[in-house]
Symmetry: C2
DNA sequence: TGCTTCGTGTAACATTTTGTTACATGTCTA
DNA sequence: TAGACATGTAACAAAATGTTACACGAAGCA
């Protein structure tokens, strides 16, 4: 029973292009470039010896025959997707897979996961530590938590928290080095982080333009904040990575000066409908983060009322 | 509207394997090796994290979940194939594409195509000259005409004609060289063909074992018989390639000695249902070939009744 | 019970398909 | 008229797919 079929991938690209009546939007949906879609359409037209789109120089119009073909392909592809989803659903509780930056996972999310597990014991959560923006086509990831300015065009995203960035160190280090005001940083070892390199900016905000901001060792991910907690120096933390340290007292914020940076967002594949589990996780995540920020705000308000900190 | 799907090719391979409950038979249907199917199934099981087949050491049993999945995929794939067939059908009269050996096309089929066109003017016939066994997966070919012994396992085939092979030359060459009996071949130039190299066998049949059969130029495809028609020497023709030459008098058969070789077959993709056009062409082809052989048999009978030929 | 046949599994490699990048072209709009 | 927008294409890169050769286990048979 040999079925005579062109490339199924080309059929998928064609169906998306016809539905959107746009190669670019089809490309966005499929997480490829417009050129790939264009290539597929061309190859399919050659295979069929049929014109599927009229080209208008600035877009395409699907032909009558292309339109009806696409409607049937939509039905077949939906069948593929539904059947596949049902197989996935019959599997033991499906994993909820989250791609997350190393620092965010280690310093904020992992210590709280036990709370999520208690509330949703049936959900098997899987954390994929990865600092790159997730490729939803290649990775079977349900959600990603990403830092950035939200200028992504091919994903859906919800803001989670805006970052306030400030120096943090251990209480012991603060006392040992006598760090009371920004000028005292001359006595301190500045701990740098590779991708969030904001010392120069913070020093300018603190009025220390001439300070040599480049002094000090370079760390990756969460390691700068962890080194600070271990008394190795003073790092730039923020309202996420340093939250628990501050709330629990193993980190202090010597100065009430902060700069604002980009934010963490909850990112998902564009147009993908959230499962109940995904929705539950998102809601829980935002609630937990809100609680953390409320506590931090209260802590900082208390600190502001005590002139000796 | 992003659909979360594994490799569509893997879905196709899986559906065939489940239907056949055999990777090998699926591979035959898809014109690939069993290893390709095995690989697709493995990758799909990994992607889904589901066991689709139980392996029994000598075969596979499709699991319950695999079976129901496959049924839905069958439905979707049929939709793909039907929609595609309908698009192809709405195109201007679809081509009937025939893959055929060069010699067969040139010396027998092409001179007769006008008769097919007269009888079926709506059918646009396309001849693809190719001496290799057609790969039905890669080539959009409806039929192939192939020479061989029929030991093909992954195609359907119908015998067309068995080959009788014998020396042929132009009447002028026969007279110029005084060729009356096999021994007179010592005066002749033997024209050889690359793939159908049967001079040694024929000479043995004619009782000329000691003859140096390798003498003479080497031609490809139909060129040996055409060189004989042009008076260049004496070639081994047969009841197909030399048929018109003999019937029309521009070739003669000096001796009433022939060897039998393999046959020409009409070959199609295994399990593919013939369209009306394919059926019409096959019937016409067999009828024409039968007519040619009837005429040749009559000609040879007449020659046998005239001792001077 | 041993040998052969049959069918799937896998690694290494080859081939094909698919995707990307950079540039080009045409249309539309301010 | 320049810029924005969208598709087309060639050359190359990357990924997916197919092949070959060997391996292993089960079934069948003498």
């Amino acid at each position: 029973m040999h079925r005579r079929l062109p490339s199924l991938n080309a059929l998928r690209a064609f169906e998306a292009a016809a539905r959107h009546e746009s190669f670019s939007r089809a490309a966005d949906e499929l997480f490829v470039t417009h050129a790939a879609v264009s290539r597929h359409i061309r190859d399919l037209e050659l295979w069929l010896d049929v014109v599927l789109f009229e080209r208008t120089g600035r877009g395409v119009l699907v032909t009558e025959i292309g339109s009806s073909y696409a409607r049937r392909l939509t039905h077949a592809l939906d069948e593929f997707a539904d059947a596949t989803a049902d197989v996935l659903a019959t599997v033991e509780a499906p994993q909820l897979k989250i791609s997350v930056e190393q620092a965010f996972a280690t310093l904020w999310l992992v210590p709280r996961l036990v709370k999520f597990a208690e509330r949703y014991p049936e959900v098997e959560l899987s954390l994929d530590p990865d600092d790159e923006l997730v490729n939803f086509r290649a990775d079977p990831v349900d959600l990603a938590i990403r830092f950035g300015n939200g200028d992504w065009t091919d994903v859906d995203f919800t803001p989670l928290v805006r970052l306030d960035v400030f120096p943090v160190c251990s209480p012991e280090y603060q006392e040992r080095k006598g760090i009371k005001e920004p000028g005292d940083l001359a006595n301190a070892m500045l701990l740098h982080e590779e991708t969030k390199a904001w010392w120069a900016e913070w020093l300018e905000e603190a009025g220390l333009k001439r300070f040599q901001s480049h002094r000090g060792p370079l760390f990756q991910g969460n390691l700068a904040v962890e080194a600070a907690a271990a008394g190795q120096g003073i790092a730039l933390g923020d309202n996420v990575s340093a939250a628990d340290g501050l709330l629990e007292g193993w980190l202090v914020r010597p100065f009430n000066i902060a700069i604002q940076e980009d934010a963490y967002y909850i990112v998902s594949a564009k147009g993908r409908k959230d499962t109940a589990q995904v929705e539950a996780f998102k809601a829980w995540l935002m609630s937990e983060m809100a609680e953390t920020q409320v506590k931090l705000t209260a802590l900082f308000a208390d600190s502001a009322n005590q002139p000796d900190s």
